[in-house]
């Protein structure tokens, strides 16, 4: 697992590529809400198999998109918090050792 760390310009370019990959579809493709691929799959199931009845429903379903986005934001926020804590902890440990 030993390799030279990437230089900072490379890191920035890679970050920009990710952002470009995300933004390009928004700019290029019009007339869509960018709904979930699973909703499209749901429609495909109904098209292939019109008699299919989903036999289970979620135990708990967010009442609307606002609550759903709250939960997703919470999920991302909690994860990002752990990641931030990890790097902060490592940074502190390195500084203690260097002193």
């Amino acid at each position: 697992m030993n390799a030279q760390p990437l230089s900072w310009p490379v890191v920035i370019i890679l970050g920009l590529i990710v952002i470009a990959l995300t933004i390009t579809p928004l700019l290029v493709i019009g007339g869509t809400e960018f709904g979930g691929a699973d909703v499209a799959a749901e429609e495909a199931v109904t098209a292939i198999n019109p008699d299919y009845e989903p036999w289970a429903t979620p135990l708990f379903e967010p009442p609307g998109s606002e609550t759903e986005s709250l939960l997703f934001a919470l999920q991302a926020g909690l994860g990002a918090g752990v990641i931030g804590y990890f790097f902060g902890w490592q940074h502190g440990r390195r500084q203690r050792r260097d002193r």
Partner: protein, 248 residues
């Protein structure tokens, strides 16, 4: 760190949050109830051995090397964050990366089968994303096949190809293979009345796998960046894991 640097980080973070979180919320694992009972059961049976061995490996890892616990939480958090980011894609639909490649490279595919399944369970219970009846199938694609693909690529290319390329391919193909398997699972359960499983697979594959292509590239790059950061920040843990020689 200087004051302006701190502000820069805050601003970049805020921009990223806006870019990613402004998307309408949707899900992309197999929805609750959308696999017939027999298929749902089949995938549970298929995934259970991986859970059993995964729990054992996870316990052994924690008792042998308690110093990697924080890194373990880190890998789980990475999957957690990436699964929450629904990104627009070329098909006009949105999907999210899986984040399982990183954990598979660090801890091996068995351990990752547990971490990935925990994330899926959380999403099924709280966000109605995926489902409990389809948890077996979704865990098989995201927490078993993806990590194994990542690990096999990592194992066969590490040392032979540039480090960044190995990490990129492992993470990107883990992501993509997850959704190829999802398409296959749906096709097996819902064969096309005319074209059979093949025609169904093409239909679902277009929806899931094609949507996933640019996202897989993004995930590959993000994993390269994170591994790069880990190499400078978590050298000790990486060395411990490398010495242990992560087994399959």
């Amino acid at each position: 760190m200087k004051r302006w640097q701190r502000w820069l980080i805050v601003c970049v973070g805020a921009v990223l949050l806006l870019v990613f979180e402004a998307q309408p919320a949707y899900a992309m694992h197999i929805m609750e109830g959308f696999l017939p009972p027999l298929w749902a059961l089949f995938w549970f049976v298929a995934v259970i051995p991986f859970w059993v061995i995964g729990v054992r490996r996870l316990r052994a890892l924690i008792s042998d090397t308690p110093e990697v616990r924080l890194l373990l939480g880190f890998a789980a958090a990475f999957t957690f964050v990436l699964s929450a980011l629904k990104l627009p894609s070329v098909t006009g639909s949105s999907s999210h990366p899986t984040g399982t490649g990183l954990g598979a490279i660090l801890f091996g595919p068995w351990v990752m089968s547990i971490l990935g399944s925990i994330v899926l369970l959380f999403q099924a219970l709280l966000i109605a994303h995926g489902g409990l009846t389809t948890l077996g199938a979704n865990a098989f694609s995201m927490a078993v096949v993806g990590p194994w693909v990542a690990w096999l690529i990592w194992r066969s290319l590490n040392g032979r190809a540039p480090f960044w390329m190995t990490v990129f391919l492992a993470a990107a193909l883990a992501d993509l293979s997850t959704y190829v398997v999802t398409s296959l699972q749906l096709a097996l359960a819902h064969p096309d009345p005319v074209g059979g499983i093949g025609a169904s697979f093409i239909k679902f594959g277009t929806i899931f796998a094609v949507t996933q292509l640019p996202l897989a590239i993004s995930e590959g790059i993000l994993t390269v960046l994170i591994m790069n950061a880990l190499q400078t920040n978590a050298k000790a843990e990486l060395e411990v894991l490398a010495m242990k020689g992560i087994r399959p």
